[in-house]
Symmetry: C2
Subunit: 325 residues, 2 copies
């Protein structure tokens, strides 16, 4: 097992700050961000030294009606190009594609013709073979790839080890540990991070971490996995993301000691774009209903409904969760 790397003063050149505001945040507003917002976020991320920016999902237009969502559910090449203007090579562009919910064989250009640098393949643990098929196809087109195994807090260690072995043998560049339900504590995430790092080391790959803030631990878990060698770190402006949200970019940037990161760009963006977005009624962030589902290691869907209904009867809600265990 690998131990901690460096200390609180170290600079780690392998670290990649990965903005998922549009992608995970898009789950809060059906991906309806306008071009001004997207362009401003792109500029802000560049100014703050963010390494990757994820624009949304590459979803199947056969499975999802385009009129039901904003365009970042589909991330067409021309939409990305129109929103950002000239692409700056200092920051890479990513999209996410879910196993079983995208048309990966037809919807991706060759990398050389695309504005996209990386495709992140999200799957559940039983879908690993399908994820590997996607990864190999996308790798063949020239993209950087990741595999984001979701909901591992409900899988057992044997399953996770098998999954890591299959992913480790693939062409994938980065293996992502994902705390889908915000149920991990620093101690539990540290053990998994070591497991993922062992696979990454053995196969010349990197590891990443995607947190959720159900128990106010998104940032804590992120810097815990970081200290054990995980290098791709997901975050979003003001922690915007489904339910309790993600690790906040402003927390992460302020923690990193590398002078190439700076808070200002993201702060200006938050002031000008995120505060009005929040004021408009789009909801995300820590609250007790998410704490309950996190503690119980459950999908946050019931907590999201509780929030949408404007409820605050925490006790009743908690009791109902325990009854439906």
């Amino acid at each position: 097992m690998s131990g901690r790397i460096g200390n609180l003063m170290s600079v780690r050149d392998d670290i990649k700050v990965f903005d998922v505001t549009l992608r995970d945040g898009g789950l809060c507003n059906d991906f309806r961000f306008d071009d001004e917002f997207v362009k401003a976020l792109y500029r802000a991320n560049l100014e703050s030294g963010v390494d990757y920016m994820e624009f949304g999902y590459k979803s199947s237009k056969k499975l999802f009606k385009q009129s039901d969502f904003g365009k970042w559910k589909f991330c067409d090449e021309e939409d990305i190009r129109a929103a950002i203007g000239n692409k700056d090579p200092m920051m890479k562009i990513s999209v996410m594609a879910d196993v079983g919910r995208c048309d990966f064989k037809t919807d991706f250009l060759k990398k050389e013709d695309s504005v996209i640098d990386m495709v992140r393949v999200a799957c559940y643990i039983h879908q690993i073979p399908a994820a590997v098929e996607m990864i190999e196809h996308l790798h063949g087109l020239g993209y950087e790839t990741t595999c984001n195994i979701m909901a591992v807090s409900q899988a057992n260690t044997n399953q996770i080890e098998s999954a890591l072995q299959m992913i480790g043998a693939s062409s994938v560049d980065v293996i992502y540990l994902v705390d889908s339900f915000g149920s991990f504590y620093p101690e539990s995430v540290m053990e998994l991070a070591q497991l993922y790092m062992d696979t990454a080391h053995a196969n010349g790959k990197r590891a990443g971490f995607h947190a959720h803030n159900n128990q106010n631990l998104a940032f804590a878990n992120t810097i815990e996995t970081l200290s054990y060698g995980v290098s791709y770190l997901d975050c979003s402006a003001m922690g915007m993301g489904r339910g309790a949200g993600n690790c906040a970019t402003e927390l992460l940037l302020g923690f990193l000691r590398n002078p190439r990161y700076s808070l200002y760009g993201v702060l200006e963006f938050i002031e000008k774009y995120m505060l009005p977005l929040k004021a408009s009624g789009i909801k995300w962030g820590y609250d007790l209903q998410y704490l309950f589902t996190g503690q119980l290691n459950r999908h946050p869907r019931e907590a999201i409904n509780f929030t949408a209904e404007g409820r605050s009867d925490y006790c009743e809600f908690y009791k109902s969760l325990l009854e439906n265990y």
Copy 2:
């Protein structure tokens, strides 16, 4: 150095859940909690298995005008008795007294005549000799005592070691690590927790931890120190406390595996009393201005003013903090 004790499934009988809602929360509303609120909190804590409840400060009536504050700034015996009715021996009662801001020689009864069980002595590191004098006096009266050394994030390790040596040689029962500015990360707080535990072990005492949530790490830091043997854990309903607030009781109770703790009492209290308090305009909790002062290891006073003025120009504020470094 002591290592981790137990794991995420363990029950630790030395753990004490310590509610500071009235005391640290009182800093948000000048201690103006009415008796109904206090009584309901007392009952809720009992129902949830909380071990200690702190009612406020025992402040000098010579230094502070009683008309400027609610009664929990002074914690008169008869006020505590009137608010709680019959005292339940299952939960102990605490008050805090600041070195140099209380009249400890005249304002405390003998323990046998008092409703109070514990006095927590708060001091800065240069006040340790004065704290020890207070501790010995209060110990002589029969109280349990703690020493809460504030602002240690701005002290160097030599100073902290000297302070711990002096406190270790005193009659104090519990030595508290306090993250006054919310500037500690789990890694830094782990090192200090081990230092405090070494002193505690060597002198037959316990250690405690008081967090602040400036960087959304109050709960994370609390369970990190806990895993290294710290046993007195401060928390408050909905994290109510000065500035970014404290570790939330509901997060901590949900984490602990001992069946004597239960969420319901505190949840009902939050629904019935804390939500209306928050809706009335009393302000506390994580926001970017507190993140900045936490990251910069500074007193939160400027962030508290920023909040009180209803400002949201984070960039300007951050720049002004850096200019006044």
